[in-house]
Amino acid sequence: MARKKQSGTRKASRRPAAPGRGVSAPRGSPAASSTPDKLSLVVGIGASAGGLEAFTRFFAHMPADSGMAFVLIQHLDPQRVSMLVELLSAKTTMPVTAAADGAPVTANSVFVIPPNAVLTIAEGVLRLSQPAPAREHRRPVDAFFTSLAVDQGERAACIILSGGGSDGTEGVRAVKEHGGLTLAQAEFDQHAMTGMPSSAAATGLVDFVLPVEDMPGRLMSYWSHLSGIEDRKGPDGSRQDMADAVLKICILLRRALGHDFIEYKRNTVVRRIQRRMQVLQIDNPADYFEHLRRTPIELDALFRELLINVTEFFRDPDAFAALQPVIRDIVAGKDADEQIRLWVPACATGEEAYSIAILLAEAMPTGRSTGPKVQIFATDIDEQAIATARAARYRKSLLSGVNEERRQRWFVKEDDHYSLIKSIRETCVFSTHSIVKDPPFSKLDLIVCRNLMIYLNAALQEKVLRTFHYALRPNGVLFLGTSESIGRLTSLYATVDKKHRIYRRRETSTALPGFPLVAARAAPDVAPAAVPAASESNVDKSARRVMEKHLPAYVVVDRNHDVIRFSGETDKYLGPSPGTASLNLFSLIRKPLRTPARAALQKALATQAMVSHENLMVQANGHRRLLDLIVEPLDDGHCVVVFAERPAPAAGRDASSQSQPSSDGLERELAATRERLQATIDELETSNEEMKSTNEEYQSVNEELQSTNEELETSKEEMQSINEELQTVNAELNSKNDQLTRAVGDLTNLKNSTQIATITLDGSLHIRDFTPPMTGLFHLRETDRGRPVTDLVTKLDYGDLQDDAARVIRDLASIEREVTLKDRDATFLMRMLPYRTIENVIAGVVMTFVDITDRQRLERERGMLSAIVDSSFDAIIGHTLEGTITNWNRAAEVMFGYQASDIIGKPMAVLFPAGRADEAVGLSKRIGHSEIIKSFDTELVRKDQTEIAVALTVSPVRSEGRRIVAASTIATDATARKKMEEHQTLLLHELSHRVKNTLATVQSITAQTLRASGVAPSARELLEGRLIALARAHDVLMERNWRDADLREIAGRALNAFTGSDAGRLRLEGPSVHVAPEAALALAMALQELATNASKYGALSNDGGYVDVSWTVQGKDQPAHSLRWQESGGPPVEAPNHQGFGSRLLKRNLAEELGGKVDVQYARGGVVCTIDFRLGGGEGDPA
């Protein structure tokens, strides 16, 4: 319903510093005008350390003669000297000074907070306290704004510029509450900048979110509006010309929103409306009313303005401390099965309700597991506030009244916020409820209603207090705000703690006031009745006092015949009657007058005209008097009952009896008449008595009826209360139901999205729930929920399900198992966990099945591959493309001496000799660039830094997408191979050496033998030539390790000796052909014979001949070779007449050796010899 605030600040807000009671000028000075030197607004500007740029832009648009004073509050490092004063001096012509303690705030000046200080303002003078508190408590902007709000009221303006955190938010709240202007910096459009501006804007109390450039203009127009309406303001700062409009606005609000502010304190309402007008810059109340009528959103804004709300946890800690024992008593007086019922009307955003809930929770006996159940009804008319309260989530700044122990115990920290723990949250039921409109709750132990009544006028206050009295159970406690009290209603409440406003319900029966308390009846006290009385002059007063003596006594009664005003000496006619004290006219009035009075009143009310009963006889103070009873109705159902006394009749009667002589006849007649009269009177009295007794009977019946009626009333009220309560509970349930529906939706989606087969079983293994993939494992249908799982056909090869489930439920431990399918090769990882309900009760099991078939297959494959790798004798090293080692097999451990655990993660470079670290990186890089690296020999180093000869093979490792992701290096130990190779070479050389030495020896032996036997030198040379040809052919073969020989090499060596220095005479032409050793030897010998012949008879025997040796190769597999020997330029050839060694060798043996055909033509131009042969597997290489 409304809003809370500590009474101290409340008072200040009630009396905002009216302009004209300027802060720099003494109170009572004339109203501020627009004279530039007069102080107009005091503008507080808050920014964090980085605010210089925003300040600069602000002053660039702010004229220097605005009459405003600016106080800049910046978050400064306490250790550093601020340059802000110097920097800003250059940006504005206004004097810029560092704020000093006691400095008066003057117009057209800029004050800057110094480092390490807290700046406040009081009575228009700056107050500086140093040093600033520790960082976590330092909120300089809040501190200044709050003091500014109190000191300057609506002449305070505050601006939140860029900065991190939430400093300034509380300050904005205060400024707004005291009627000032609040601005925040926009990021773009009207979106507040993140950090301080957005934090402030989130309260909904920032009037404008603007770019910095637009702020000066806004301030100026605000001031011009404010000063424009100055003269229309009353001494309390509320405008005098508002009365009509306020009433209309209140009626409009009641009609539109259903909330009635008519009986709220008039000045409060007026000031709040005024503020909206200022913000909208509307001058005329009637215009505002029109605006309000046309713009529904403004209705909401005004409503919110009227409900400005300042509350926090344990606000007013002393009062809460005083409440603690009361709460302890309440708890102590309850049994565990009873309920403690509380009501917090006007709970706003819930802080107070939760504070009470915490007090209660703390008062609960710790030993007992279950204390009495607590039910706190927290209500407010502001739905937004209720929504906030329901969320139970509060900014840290609102928790300043909560000590650390309470924070730990009752709150859960979430980022910047604190949430109430569940048990506290659940004791509070929040609902929208109007204390004015709606029936109250009932049988309450405690009502906490703080700072609500200060907004209500006296009449409504009383009604509310009567409502509370009704709602409280006997001895129930009422806790009011510090500046509130029970007023006159001491008959209803006894004081428990006067200072802290704690009261106890007195045992008096009260009827529940009718609802709504503020009926939609005639306009309320727009013109209070007291006003004319107050205007009575002293003369009038004295005259009235005199006149009272001469006027007849009268009383004014209301509709219920209760006396509301006595006048004159009514004691003659009225007197208290025994029994319950009452102001009812009929219980006060003397018996003889009762009947005529009742008749007269009824008639007067019925006819709305004056009724008079004349000449009534009364006995008072022993005298008989004659009396005229006059009843005249007033307009509003009240009646005036006048007791007009007649002059004493006795004197008159005496006079007449003396003046007139008596007559017997007449006297007799008189006597007879008297007797008749007496008889008639007696008769009348008798019937009167009868009437009376009948009347009494009726009365008692009436009493009975009335008490029945009262009982019914009470029942009805109780029903109303219960109904209200039920509605509240229902709303709460509905909101919970919504939450549950959402949660169920979330869970279902989550469950379905996991694709994990999941099934939940209850304690007796009946199916509770399952996910769709489960149907692949059991023959499950939707309708199977509730059936025992053991009844279902399963595809799983899992006979122990029941035993396992029983074990899980018994031991509360989970079970994991690999389960296979019966019909198909698939493996699942089954995990069985106990199913815990929210209350932590085990109510079955949850089973999940994860398909691990692929994983297992991969696992097996991996195992096999790693076994292969491990059993290799070659070092197999896996590494990244950057060269970091990732795998290291056993052979590598042996070869290099590093254990896998030592080397994995190290770079490949450690395996390379010191100077060749780059090579390692280079290899990996080349692999990464898809380069193919052939196996190559190199040296690597072992852990002990010895070198090892290896053959390295580096190959890429590809991902599934064929992308190269890593590399593997295989190092084969080449030491043994190298040694073998060296040995082989050595042997070959030795062999070659021996062969040639032997040939040389043979040469020597034959030479000397032949020389001694006188053989012709030509024969010796021939022999020598053949021996040497053999040796040369061996040479060629030896160079190729006796594998094969190049044809060109064979031919060249064979013929070199014949051409001597004139090598040009021999021309060799043909592709590179490798021939087997045997063929090579045969060919060499053949060529030797041909050359010998040529040097004797053919082309080489003179100086001008040539020999062309050419060969061709055709075909791939077993290619056909054809070698052609052609001489030219020699002397004419004649066919030899006998077949020598040469032609025998050529024609028979060579052909056989080569498996080919040899043809020698002794053409005249020169010998031509062609040798055709095939070489098995010999390669033709076109190079």
Partner: protein, 118 residues
């Protein structure tokens, strides 16, 4: 074939194979050279180099297992090893491959003498 006169050139023969050594001496005599030595082993060969007077030497690379490089610098090799297997630094020194013919010996000696300033 060559315009260098081999007549009277004194040639030190270091050759372990007796028959080859004889053939070499015959050949040298045939072409007009004067054989010096012969030496069959390293030790005697080194002694001869100190004391004997000669113009040129023919060394067998393998002297019964010892390599004759230590005394090789100015001399010609006669060896069963192929040119490839001779050590790198002696590549430029003319070599003869066993078995060789007389004219090859002549040419090689001439080539050495041309390269050497007298």
């Amino acid at each position: 074939v060559t315009n260098v006169s081999l007549s009277g050139v004194r040639v030190l023969v270091v050759e372990d194979e007796m028959m080859v050594s004889m053939l070499l001496q015959d050949m040298l005599s045939d072409i007009g050279c004067t054989p010096v030595g012969p030496a069959r082993r390293m030790g005697p060969a080194l002694k001869l180099i100190e004391h004997a007077v000669f113009d040129i030497a023919i060394l067998d690379v393998n002297l019964n297992g010892d390599e004759s490089y230590p005394i090789a610098d100015a001399f010609v090799f006669a060896s069963g090893y192929s040119a490839d297997s001779l050590r790198e630094k002696y590549r430029s020194i003319p070599s003869l491959q066993k078995p060789f013919q007389q004219h090859e010996l002549e040419q090689t000696l001439a080539a050495v003498l041309i390269r050497r300033p007298h």
